[in-house]
Amino acid sequence: MPKIDDYGRGALDFIEGLERLKTVDSVMDAMERAFNRFGFETIILTGVPNPEQRLEQMVLAKRWPAEWFKIYTANEYVRVDPAVRHLRRTVNPFEWSEAPYDAGKEPRAAEVMRRAVEFGMARGFAVPIHNLTGYEACVSLGGKHLDLNVRSKAAIHLMGMYSFDRVRRIIVPPIKAHRLTPREREVIAWSSQGKSAWEIGEILNINQRTVEAHAASARQKLGATNATHAVAIAIRERLIEP
C-alpha cells in the first residue's frame, strides 16, 4: 500500500516527466504505467461531442479494447452514458458509480454500464476538463480492482489534467493554431458546414484556387492531415463554432 507521501511525489514526478515526452504514444505509454498502479486498464482522453458531432472526431487518444470502441460508437453510447452526462455538470472528478441514472427509466444507461464490465471496465474514474471557452472534455479511466482513496483520487485528478494538456499540446501545437487569418477561418468554417471549395468560392466571391490555398494554409497551421482533421481541430480549439 503506497504511503501518503508516495502518491504526491509519484504524481508530481509523473507530471514533470510529461514535458519530456514528444509523441502522443509516449504519453499514453507513461499514462498506462502510472495508472496501472491504481488498477486502471483502460484510458480515454476525449472531448464531449455535441448533438451534431460524433465521439470519434472528439477523441484525442485512447487505450481501449478495439471491440469495445466499435460497440460503443456503433450504439452511440456516448449519448446515454451516465458518466458523460455527469461530467458536463461538474468540475470535480468522480467514480463512474457516482454518476446518477435511473436503471428503470433509463435502460440504455444501464446497458452501457453493464456491457463495459465485459471489457474489463467494472469500475471507473472520470476527470472532467472544462476550459475558458466552453470546451468540455475528460480523462476517463476504467478497471476491475481500483486503489481509490482520498489521496489516490487527488493524485489521479492532477495527473489526468496534466496528461490531457500534454496530449492536447502535442496534437495542436499552440502558437500556430491561433494565427489563422480571417479568410482561413472563414474557409474552415464553411468547410465544417460541408461546403466544397467551389461552393465556398461562390459564397465568399473568390476564386476556387484561392479557397484551396487558404484551406491548405489553415491545415498546415493547425497541423491537420486532411480537411476533416482541420475542421475537428478548429472546432476543438473553438476557432469556429461547431
Binding site: 511525489r9 468540475v91 485528478h157 489534467m161
Partner: protein, 219 residues
C-alpha cells in the same frame, strides 16, 4: 484598462480600494461561498491586504470590473500560513522575484467578455515589467485547464485537497513573454493593458530590502 496600485500610489486610489473590498465580499464570501472570508462589515479584507500589497484593478471609467492581488513572498504568505499542506511535496516558493497571486475576480456582468484575458495578460505584463519571475498561489483545480488553455506554465506543489468543499491546489506560475503574447493573440489585445498613475517604485527592490532586513535580524 488595468491600474497598478501599490504603496507608492495608493493614495490616488483609496476609494477604489475600499470599493473593491466590497466587491470581493460579494464574490468570494457570498457567491463562491467561502464562509471563512465572511465579515460583518461586508468588506473582504485579510492579513495580506496591507502596505506591501499590489492590486491590479481593472477599471472602466471609474467603475471596478475585475482585479488581481499580488503579495511579496518575503512576507508571510497565505500559502505558508493557511495552506502549507497543499505545498507539501515541492515546498513553498519564496524569493524577492516570487510573488503570491490571489483574489482574481471579474464582476458577473463582465465574465463572458475579454476581461479575463486582459486580467491574465496584466499579470504577465506587470511581472515582466517589474522583474517578477514567478507567481505562487492556491486555486481551485478547475482553474488549471483554463490557465493551460492560455499557455500558462503551472507547476503543482502538492496534491489537491478539499478546501470549503472545492478541490484546491497550490502551484507556481512561470511568468513569460510567450504566455503574454499567446493570451493577447487569443483575445486580440493590442498594446499594453496597464495604467500606471502617480509615483511608482521598484517592487522587487523593496522585496530585496525585506530579504536583507530578515537576514540582518537572523544574524
Amino acid at each position: 484598462m488595468i491600474h497598478v496600485i501599490s504603496a507608492a500610489n495608493r493614495h490616488l486610489y483609496e476609494d477604489a480600494i475600499e470599493t473593491h473590498y466590497r466587491i470581493r465580499h460579494e464574490i468570494f464570501s457570498a457567491e463562491r461561498g467561502w464562509k471563512a472570508l465572511t465579515r460583518p462589515d461586508g468588506r473582504e479584507v485579510d492579513a495580506y491586504d496591507n502596505q506591501d500589497t499590489v492590486y491590479l484593478l481593472a477599471m472602466e471609467d471609474e467603475r471596478i470590473v475585475g482585479g488581481n492581488r499580488l503579495y511579496p513572498t518575503m512576507r508571510p504568505t497565505m500559502m505558508e500560513e493557511v495552506f502549507p499542506h497543499l505545498a507539501s511535496v515541492r515546498g513553498i516558493p519564496s524569493g524577492p522575484t516570487i510573488w503570491e497571486w490571489s483574489r482574481l475576480f471579474a464582476i458577473k456582468e463582465r465574465r463572458d467578455s475579454k476581461l479575463y484575458f486582459e486580467l491574465m495578460a496584466s499579470l504577465h505584463e506587470f511581472c515582466l515589467d517589474e522583474g517578477i519571475t514567478e507567481l505562487s498561489g492556491v486555486m481551485e483545480t478547475w482553474w488549471l485547464p483554463r490557465l493551460q488553455q492560455l499557455e500558462f506554465t503551472v507547476h503543482p506543489l502538492g496534491l489537491p485537497d478539499l478546501v470549503e468543499n472545492q478541490m484546491t491546489m497550490a502551484a507556481r506560475f512561470v511568468i513569460s513573454a510567450e504566455t503574454l503574447s499567446h493570451i493577447k493573440a487569443m483575445a486580440n489585445i493590442k498594446g499594453s493593458v496597464l495604467v500606471r498613475r502617480g509615483p511608482q517604485h521598484s517592487l522587487v527592490g523593496r522585496a530585496l530590502e525585506m530579504q536583507r532586513q530578515a537576514a540582518a535580524k537572523a544574524s
